[in-house]
Symmetry: C2
């Protein structure tokens, strides 16, 4: 996260920041979560952007479906550049993150959703303002944070309310902040 409205962070910076967040916020992971595995997943989760590029989190479903195909092809190509045992190990981390079944993957995904919210708050609204995102859209992403960490989910929900109050995020078109 770059704490300002200047250039956007690149994938290496983003991944480093998420991994450090995992270390600092480890106490908010469900008991027994292997934080080493969380950081490992966060370190490799965006390698596919080398080929597939990035997609805005609020893109439509068709765009997300196309992106998923592109990212899978990227993973097939990029991890296969490594010797087979390393390829299998790192690809396994990427698959685990994508499948979001283990507590480690769910906590890692929660951080990956929380971080852009913090970035937008630091950048005076950031991509929320640029793209006219409203609070109800952000709250659909908060559900994924809650799924990985109830404590961080609650924190994120409070952030959304504060962002609306501070004029950094438009309220839901209907008016209510909490659906």
């Amino acid at each position: 996260m770059l704490a300002g409205p200047g250039r956007r962070e690149n994938s290496a910076e983003h991944s480093w920041h998420l991994a450090v967040m995992a270390l600092a916020l480890a106490e908010h992971a469900p008991p027994g979560t292997d934080i080493g595995r969380v950081t490992a997943m966060l370190l490799v989760h965006d390698l596919v952007e080398i080929d597939a590029g990035d997609l805005f989190v609020y893109a439509d479903e068709a765009q997300h479906a196309r992106q998923e195909v592109a990212e899978r092809a990227a993973a097939d190509r990029i991890f296969a550049l490594l010797p087979p045992d390393q390829a299998a190990r790192l690809r396994g981390l990427w698959d685990e993150f994508e499948e979001r079944r283990t507590p480690e993957a769910r906590f890692a995904r929660a951080l990956d959703r929380l971080q852009p919210m913090l970035a937008n708050l630091s950048a005076g609204g950031g991509t929320w303002k640029e793209h006219g995102i409203t609070a109800d859209q952000v709250l659909t992403k908060v559900a994924l944070i809650e799924d990985g960490s109830p404590a961080l989910g609650k924190y994120a929900r409070d952030l959304v309310e504060r962002a609306v109050r501070d004029g950094l995020l438009a309220p839901a078109p209907g008016g209510a902040v909490t659906p």
Copy 2:
């Protein structure tokens, strides 16, 4: 590492790259090494550069001594920005890396020494050429790689020989590559 002679990588990129190297090269750590702890150390080891800046690895002893004092002051200030329990945990990782006593710290330090060598090889000589560094100087750093991982130490020693052969690194003034 940026695979080219363009801009230098920043600390976030450098730390991400080292942590990914730790994942990929885990098999070259001594048996029983906790790779999660290695990546955690690598993720935080350069946070002090926020205050203390970076120092060229071949700077003289007096400069290194001043840098050490500056980095310790930076660690005191920066980690203390966190809540006490998080501060203690992350500061502990930083101290462990600096003290270089545990197998995890020694492997982490080995990677931190190996990575600039790879960067210089990719960048046609890079900082070796810029600063007129010779093979004997690089080999003093290779000792630290060997200390953390005999396998990576041997690999680094071979890299130095290759770099001299390929004209990317000047031979030792005396003439012999291997001291």
